[in-house]
Symmetry: C2
DNA sequence: CAACGTCATGGTAGCGCTACCATTTTTATT
DNA sequence: AATAAAAATGGTAGCGCTACCATGACGTTG
């Protein structure tokens, strides 16, 4: 006696695939198939199985699934910041594109740290994700190797560059910085400053674009550049602008690293009764929606963050299903939005 | 012959726990223990095992772990929006608190939809998460049941209320709305409007606080309230303010649902040459850092979003490790920041 | 009508790990 | 020194699912 195994169900008593199979009077594997490749199961069984699933409230265990198939239905997403609106928009695009797919999202925050990125890539890799989406193109050699060996599609987002690990969606920050600066020059500004916080690689490239445009026009002066590694914010924009002005009182324009900084500059101009755009011209970067309602409205470089997220998912999904997109590098560009802040 | 099993390694050839065990000359279970409860393994073996782990580059498979232990090292986090700074801050607090724990984060975006929340809860539940953190207290009955049966600690964040599913960290939006409105009244404003977008339950409670204060002072008039279900933004704030003013030209103050709206109102005042705070007083909600540098600086209700995220994790972690905090409802409060926009 | 696909279904054997019990060794305790 | 108790280690048996192969029932073809 005592032949009956207690069957402790350490899993907590939720129905399993064999419960469903038993109830539907089929084999477990058929249930598995009915759920994943319905077209390979006869309509009759499919219906029976569906009924059993509904009745029991069966939900497949993703962990067991991942273990058995050596592939988790997870997209790993790595961004440097969660609060920066720019990345928040990319992430939103990714979530929206994946919301009615079976894929879950594993989001990591690198805090702009290469080391943290490596650590997270390690963690993510251990899950055998279906795809990896990472911000930027400046991975450390270790990170790059991890990405190359991830064994899944990889999309680098927010930038374009010559050597994708796999695929890429973004735009040229250098060109963006150049376009912003050229616009200020064309509008008649001459002593144009660059103000930037959190000088990550993307900001560096915008600065390079600024510098290229200024040098080409014979206007560059290193004292026009004010930067800090501190995290960007509106209050910081105000302070940096005051610094810049103290350093260079003849300043007549500023290209800001991003819109937060630009807003800080605008507020300080109000406070100090500096006329915008007459005395100072302002250009931001990213074109947050508040730029168009600011008073005066602020010229900015519009970027397509949400679209970048969507596109990245679309490309990854295509690669997963076998047909890799022919173009591995997608440049979504940007647009200069001319507004009152530079309408001299 | 052919006795040697090919051992196909469909897992892709990464080292497993038995590889480590073999190399270290111990049993697999000892490796498992050395990794999870090092104090239960002798120092010598621990060192040998660590050496083997390092040499092989072994990383445990979280899926196998979750399957075997019926518990995934995952925190499920549910927020209604990814781009709203308020939730981004909460999420950041959660990430920062969990960054050097073994727990991963599964983040879900409900888009303010109860149905979507139910769906995500279902998906999350199937993973047997270690804890669940959800925004708000207005779950549908189905969601509430799912939370109650999740079999793990649950923390509701951003609000306080009488009946937590399990634990709660937040503050009273009603009191916040009341405090903001009372401040305007004390400052001498009388025709005080309420302007709100995306009237989610939290906004509704702020409105209720506004109404309570206004009625108490005998100032309430339904025509003073301007709301819309549309998603909140700075441009929308501007528009709603224009609507409000058209409807009620004698308006002399506004309590805004949130800071985005407040900023939109401020910009419109600039544009229409309406003096702030003389002609119109403005109060925002949440106190984004730009409020203090705006010109004029904007009075707002400071809320502790980041801290809410951290606290939620701390409480969940305590519950996981067995000692549930004695206070299951934590009220982190808020603070009225008086600034120029209401300094009549 | 034999020989050969093709389709629908099922059985078996793991995926990589840990819970649950042994079993052995060491350390108190009397 | 004998015994109990605690500490350290290991073996076995799954967790819930799917890859892989096997089986049988049908056509299809020459």
């Amino acid at each position: 006696m005592a032949l009956i195994k207690p069957r402790s169900r350490r899993g907590g008593g939720r129905p399993t695939i064999s419960d469903v199979a038993r109830k539907a009077g089929v084999g477990a594997i058929t249930v598995s198939r009915a759920l994943r490749e319905p077209e390979r199961v006869s309509e009759e069984l499919r219906r029976q199985i569906q009924a059993a699933v509904d009745e029991l409230g069966y939900v497949p265990d993703p962990n067991a699934r991942a273990l058995a198939s050596a592939r988790a239905e997870v997209f790993g997403v790595l961004v440097p910041s969660l609060t920066n609106n720019v990345f928040a928009e990319v992430v939103r695009g990714i979530y929206d594109s994946l919301s009615d797919s079976p894929f879950r999202i594993q989001l990591g925050n690198t805090h702009y740290s290469g080391l943290e990125e490596e650590r997270l890539l390690q963690v993510f890799g251990s899950q055998r994700p279906a795809a990896l989406i990472v911000a930027g193109i400046d991975q450390t050699p270790t990170s790059r190797k991890l990405l190359e060996n991830a064994g899944c599609p990889v999309v680098q987002v927010m930038e374009t560059g010559p050597e994708p690990v796999d695929m890429m969606v973004g735009f040229s920050h250098l060109d963006g910085g150049r376009a912003a600066t050229e616009h200020l020059i064309e509008a008649g500004y001459r002593r144009i400053g660059f103000i930037g916080a959190r000088m990550d690689p993307r900001s560096q490239r915008r600065l390079a674009g600024y510098r290229a445009a200024m040098e080409k026009a014979g206007l560059f002066d290193p004292r026009l550049v004010t930067t800090t590694p501190v995290l960007s914010s509106v209050p910081l924009g105000r302070e940096l602008f005051r610094d810049a002005l103290a350093k260079m009182p003849t300043l007549d324009g500023v290209f800001c690293n991003n819109d937060d900084i630009a807003l800080g500059v605008l507020f300080e101009c109000h406070r100090a009764s500096i006329d915008v755009p007459k005395t100072i011209g302002i250009v931001g970067f990213n074109d947050l929606d508040m730029m168009q309602v600011a008073f005066p409205s602020i010229t900015s470089i519009r970027t397509y963050r949400y679209e970048i997220g969507r596109r990245a998912v679309a490309m990854a999904l295509a690669a997963i299903s076998g047909d890799r997109p022919q173009e591995r590098i997608v440049d979504l560009g940007f647009e200069l939005k001319r507004r009152e802040s530079t309408a001299r």
